[in-house]
């Protein structure tokens, strides 16, 4: 049996086994599990074919990255639902740090200037920026919804609006960074991240895989911090009115 057939058979067996177990215990998850597995197979097959095409036509790499940014923007923007300018805020918070970091990594020669290196690097960084944007933005909107009295106290004591908002934005940024910090702290101890595993399976030496993984992880940490700061900054700005007043966005009141 070839390795490809073995991989597919193993995947089908795991998905089928999980669905069977869910059905046996009446969890109501058999169909969702099977559907998710099928969907993942189709999506990865399509992406695989697309990436193969992009690798042959490097100009398509730019379009591919643009699609990733747009998808991430729509996803994160939707999570900030109702906030005026949510998509613009999400696009800025995701694209600016993720694409800048990708460009820096390619420019300094950390990775080859090729579609094969740029696309996965940009993908990981865009995904991280998206997660940090969503988490930080939602946390800040929640804090604005519940922290109206505290904001009023700070304003009434003579704080400028941005000063009054600062504790909420700082807390939201800190929350948004928790997954990235935990991922970085626990790497190799709790999980073996995708880049590392992928390189090992692809035949790279453990040292090379670790080096690349570390580069990506540290870039990811910076990208997620910048994304969190940008989205918090944009939401805070949207709350401030002339005369050092604060207006909580509609999205936060829901």
């Amino acid at each position: 049996m070839s390795q490809a057939v073995a991989q597919i058979a193993a995947g089908v067996a795991f998905a089928g086994g999980a669905a069977l177990l869910a059905w046996r215990y009446r969890l109501g998850l058999a169909r969702p599990l099977a559907t998710a597995a099928l969907r993942a197979a189709l999506q990865l097959a399509a992406v695989g074919a697309l990436v193969a095409l992009v690798f042959r036509v490097p100009a398509l790499a730019v379009a591919f990255v643009a699609v990733m940014v747009v998808t991430a923007t729509l996803t994160a923007g939707g999570r900030l639902g109702g906030l005026a300018g949510a998509r613009t805020a999400a696009a800025t918070a995701i694209a600016l740090p993720a694409l800048s970091a990708t460009a820096i990594l390619l420019a300094v020669g950390a990775f080859d200037v090729s579609a094969r290196a740029a696309i996965p690097t940009a993908g990981i960084l865009i995904g991280g920026a998206m997660a940090a944007t969503t988490l930080t933005g939602r946390r800040l909107l929640e804090a604005l919804a519940t922290g109206g009295d505290e904001l009023e106290v700070r304003l009434a004591l003579g704080d400028a609006a941005r000063v009054a908002l600062a504790p909420l934005t700082r807390q939201a940024i800190a929350t948004g960074l928790i997954p990235a910090i935990d991922q970085t702290r626990s790497v190799g101890l709790v999980t073996l991240p995708g880049t590392f595993v992928g390189l090992l399976l692809g035949g790279a030496s453990p040292a090379e895989a670790a080096r690349v993984q570390l580069t990506v992880l540290l870039a990811l940490l910076a990208v997620e911090l910048v994304a969190a700061v940008i989205v918090a900054e944009l939401i805070a700005r949207a709350c401030v009115r002339a005369g050092e007043r604060i207006v909580v966005p509609e999205a936060a009141r829901r």
């Binding site: 109206g148 009295d149 505290e150 904001l151 009023e152 106290v153 700070r154 304003l155 009434a156 004591l157 003579g158 704080d159 400028a160 002339a242 005369g243 050092e244 007043r245 604060i246 207006v247 909580v248």
Partner: protein, 255 residues
């Protein structure tokens, strides 16, 4: 530090102030004076616009029409942060900031302010608490203690006027009487106070001047006259109070 002697000042003056919140007219025509060294009470049912009126005085809310003057100067021309240090506000919820009572009292004090324990203790004493409260965790205080710490916190900035929003809402009769005595003492020290309350008996005990709000219009006059008229109309007052119970509380910093 606790209260400045400003009895010769003009205080606040509202001229034909109107304001709508979320499309609903809350204040239609409010004109009144809040002189320094005097206690001016605003009596009206919940939802009638008392909280909104107070927040127009320190620009947490901007009026749609009319003017608010502080010592003759339009507050719209003053820097908002400086205005709010001159015109302090103590909200109904008496929300505590994180940390100790000392942290709360010293919050946001600037270089020229006195943040010494002696100064903070004087502010606490003016609000009816002693120095033993300074290290206590603010979040663990009772409702009455919070109300007094919130008052002391506003006093540490050395305001010329104080806006008190339902200061007795969380207090029993004895504590309310104590706060009333504190309010009178602050006025005697030269502070101007604008106190929103729906407790007519308490209002009558502390007021030098009174203001009633009805359908967004202010009627001002001597306390006995205004409070007596509101008391005589108590049936409508109570009905309005329950009808509007939740409609005015959220003015706050939001609009």
């Amino acid at each position: 530090m606790v209260a400045n002697a400003h009895s010769g000042g003009e205080g606040l003056e509202l001229r034909e102030v109107a304001l709508a919140l979320a499309g609903r007219p809350v204040l239609r025509d409010v004109s009144c004076a809040v002189p320094k060294g005097r206690v001016t009470v605003v009596v009206a049912p919940s939802g009638a616009g008392k909280s909104t009126l107070l927040r127009c005085c320190n620009r947490l809310l901007e009026v749609d029409r009319g003017r608010v003057l502080l010592d003759g100067a339009d507050v719209a021309t003053l820097e908002a942060t400086a205005l709010r240090r001159r015109v302090g506000l103590v909200g109904q919820a008496a929300t505590m900031l994180p940390g100790s009572v000392r942290d709360n009292l010293a919050y946001g004090l600037r270089d020229g302010d006195d943040a010494s324990d002696a100064a903070l203790t004087r502010a606490l004493a003016a609000a009816g608490l002693d120095a033993s409260f300074l290290p206590r965790a603010a979040e663990r205080l009772s409702g009455g203690e919070r109300a007094r710490v919130a008052l002391a916190r506003a006093l540490t900035r050395g305001p010329e006027l104080l806006l008190l929003d339902e200061p007795t809402a969380a207090l029993d009769a004895a504590a309310a009487a104590h706060v009333g005595a504190t309010v009178r003492a602050l006025a005697a020290d030269g502070l101007g106070l604008l106190v929103a309350t729906h407790d007519l008996g308490w209002a009558a005990a502390i007021a030098d001047r009174a203001l009633a709000l009805r359908d967004g219009v202010a009627i001002s006059g001597a306390p006995a006259e205004i409070i007596g008229a509101v008391d005589a109309n108590r049936g409508a007052f109570d009905a309005d109070s329950s009808a509007h119970e939740t409609s005015d509380g959220g003015a706050g910093a939001q609009r």
